[in-house]
C-alpha cells in the first residue's frame, strides 16, 4: 500500500482527496502528494530497501502508488559510474555520472511514468496519455503496452526521428501537433478536460512527478547512503530538479543517510530542508530555451515564458510549470543555473562519449557542458563529490551529431586500407 493521505495545494494549502487532480480549484496552484511520514518512518529501512526489486519500486514506501503490483518495465537502478577520464579532463577527482539513459525506454521518464501508470490503473483509467517532447511519449507508450492499456501521445510534429519511432513502435495513438511543446501542452490541458484519460503529466502530475525522487534515492544508496557535494541536472519544466532535492531531504528526515539524525517534516512537506543536506544544486539549460536560468541570473522569483529555439528539444519548454520552485531550490541549496551556448550542446555530447563511452542525447550534452563550465569556473572544487545526471539516450537524437560520421572509405584490399590509414588518427598507435 502507499502511505498517501491526500493532496494539498502548494500555494494556498487547501486539501483535496487523493484523486486524479493536479490543480487547486481555488488558486490554480499545483497539488502535491501528502504522505503519512510517521508511518513511513516506522517501516522504512536500508534492509527493507535492499530486499526490494532492482527498480524504482525498491523505494515504494516513499512513492505515492502501491508497489504490490506496479506497472513496471524495470525503470531505475541505473549505473552510477565513476567518471575518471572526464574527471581528469575537467580537473575533478571525484566525479560520477548517473547514467539514466539506459532505462528500458532510454530516458529517466520511465521512473515517473511507472508511478503514473500504476496510479492510473489504480484509479481505473483504461487510457494513459501525455504531452511530450519525445522521451515521455516513448515511456508512456511502453508502459501502456506492458499494462495492456491504451495510450495517446501528443508530440510536436518536428521531433527527432529517433523519438518518434521510439514511441510509435509500442503502438500508441500518436498525435503530431504543428506547434511547440508549450502549445501541445496547452492543447492537452484542454483535451484532458473533455476525455476520460489519465494524462500522466496533467491530471496525474502530482503522482507522476514524485517518481523523479528516485533519482535522488538511488544516487544516495549507490554512494553508500551519502549525498554528493554537487549535482548537475538538466531542466525543462524544473520538476525533476525539485524532486531530486526533495528525495535527498526525505532520506535525511527519515534517518536513512549515513551519520544523519532524523528530523520531523513539519507541516509543509515540500519545502522541508534538513540541515545535513548540503548538496549544491546546479541547473543546466540550453541558451535557446532557458527561462529558469534567465530568471535566476536576473534575480527574479518569477519566470517569464520564452519561445524555444534550441537543439535540445527535450528541454524545450518555454513555460516551465515548476520553474519558480526550481528557483527556490537553487537558492536554498546555494546552487547555480547556467545556459549552455547552443554549439556547446553537441560538444558536450561528444566529450562524454569520447571520455566515458556514454552516448547521451542533447539534454545530456547540455548537462556535460554545464559541468565543464562549473569545473572551469572553479564553482566545483577538485576533490568535491559531484554527480552529473545523464537522463536520455543519444540514439534518439542522432541528427545532432551526424558530423561525427567520417569513415575511411576504401576498396576491400590491404593496399587501399593501408593508404587510407596513413594520416588517420589510428595510424598514431601503429
Amino acid at each position: 500500500m502507499a502511505f498517501v493521505s491526500g493532496l494539498r495545494c502548494r500555494e494556498c494549502s487547501r486539501e483535496y482527496p487523493g484523486e486524479a487532480l493536479n490543480v487547486c480549484d481555488f488558486c490554480f496552484g499545483p497539488l502535491e502528494v501528502v504522505y503519512d511520514y510517521a508511518t513511513i518512518s516506522e517501516v522504512v529501512s536500508h534492509d527493507r530497501i535492499a530486499a526490494g526489486p532492482l527498480s524504482i519500486w525498491r523505494y515504494h514506501d516513499l512513492l505515492p502508488a502501491s508497489g504490490e503490483d506496479p506497472v513496471d518495465i524495470l525503470a531505475g537502478f541505473t549505473p552510477l559510474l565513476k567518471a575518471r577520464n572526464l574527471g581528469e579532463r575537467l580537473g575533478l577527482k571525484n566525479l560520477y555520472i548517473k547514467n539514466d539513459s539506459v532505462n528500458p525506454s532510454f530516458s529517466f521518464k520511465d521512473r515517473v511514468v511507472s508511478v503514473a501508470a500504476t496510479k492510473a490503473r489504480e484509479f481505473g483509467f483504461e487510457t494513459i496519455a501525455c504531452a511530450s517532447t519525445g522521451n515521455l511519449a516513448c515511456s508512456v507508450a511502453a508502459h501502456a503496452a506492458r499494462a495492456g492499456m491504451r495510450s495517446v501521445v501528443f508530440i510536436p510534429s518536428d521531433l527527432e526521428r529517433g523519438k518518434v519511432i521510439g514511441a510509435a513502435v509500442y503502438g500508441p495513438t500518436m498525435v503530431a501537433v504543428e506547434g511547440t511543446y508549450d502549445e501541445v501542452n496547452r492543447l492537452c490541458s484542454e483535451v484532458g478536460d473533455n476525455y476520460p484519460w489519465a494524462f500522466v503529466n496533467i491530471n496525474m502530475r502530482p503522482y507522476y512527478a514524485e517518481g523523479s525522487k528516485t533519482l535522488g534515492y538511488e544516487v544516495a544508496e549507490q554512494l553508500d547512503w551519502r549525498i554528493p557535494d554537487h549535482v548537475v541536472i538538466p531542466s525543462a519544466s524544473g520538476a525533476m530538479f525539485t524532486k531530486i532535492w526533495k528525495g535527498f531531504n526525505e532520506l535525511a528526515c527519515l534517518g536513512l543517510l549515513d551519520g544523519v539524525d532524523a528530523m520531523t517534516f513539519g507541516p509543509d512537506q515540500n519545502t522541508v530542508h534538513h540541515p545535513a543536506i548540503t548538496t549544491r544544486m546546479h541547473m543546466a539549460q540550453a541558451e535557446g530555451c532557458s527561462p529558469i536560468v534567465n530568471a535566476w541570473v536576473g534575480g527574479q522569483n518569477q519566470i517569464r515564458p520564452v519561445r524555444p529555439d534550441s537543439i535540445a528539444k527535450s528541454l524545450a519548454i518555454g513555460n516551465p510549470a515548476d520553474g519558480i520552485y526550481a528557483l527556490r531550490v537553487i537558492k536554498e541549496s546555494d546552487g547555480s543555473a547556467y545556459a549552455v551556448p547552443e554549439p556547446q550542446v553537441v560538444e558536450g555530447i561528444k566529450l562524454l562519449a569520447e571520455t566515458e563511452g556514454i552516448f547521451t542525447e542533447t539534454a545530456g550534452g547540455v548537462t556535460v557542458s554545464t559541468l565543464k563550465y562549473l569545473a572551469e569556473s572553479g564553482a566545483i572544487g577538485a576533490d568535491e563529490l559531484t554527480v552529473a545526471y545523464i537522463t536520455g539516450n543519444g540514439l534518439k537524437t542522432q541528427e545532432a551529431v551526424e558530423e561525427v560520421v567520417n569513415p575511411l572509405y576504401i576498396r576491400p584490399s590491404m593496399s587501399s586500407f593501408e593508404e587510407a590509414l596513413q594520416g588517420s588518427p589510428a595510424s598514431a598507435s601503429l
Binding site: 490543480v23 488558486c27 496552484g29 496547452r186 519548454i317 510549470a321
Partner: protein, 91 residues
C-alpha cells in the same frame, strides 16, 4: 459573432457546468468583469490581489499566450476564441 471563452474544469462549478460561454468583443479585463457579473467568484480565481493575472493561470487568444500579447489589455474580436487554462501541466 461573439467571442467564445473556453472554461476549464476548476471554474465550471461557477459557470453552471458550461465548458464554454459566449461574450461580447472587448479587452480581457472587461471580459473578466463581465464574466464576474454573470458568474460571481470567477474574477477572484483569475486575478490576484494586485490586479494581475494569477501566476498559475494562462489565458490564450486563438492559441497565443496573452502574456506574449498585451496581457489583460489584449483585445478579442468577434469570432475569436479565448481559452483559460491552468498553467500547472507538462514536464
Amino acid at each position: 459573432m461573439p467571442v467564445t471563452v473556453r472554461i476549464p474544469t476548476p471554474l465550471r462549478r461557477m459557470t453552471n457546468g458550461q465548458d464554454k460561454v459566449e461574450m461580447e468583443e472587448s479587452n480581457l479585463s472587461t471580459m473578466i468583469e463581465n464574466l464576474e457579473a454573470s458568474y460571481p467568484g470567477v474574477k477572484e480565481r483569475l486575478i490576484d490581489e494586485n490586479g494581475d493575472l494569477r501566476y498559475f493561470v494562462n489565458i490564450y487568444l486563438n492559441g497565443e499566450d496573452v502574456r506574449f500579447l498585451d496581457g489583460l489589455d489584449t483585445s478579442a474580436s468577434s469570432g475569436d476564441e479565448i481559452s483559460i487554462v491552468p498553467a500547472v501541466a507538462g514536464g
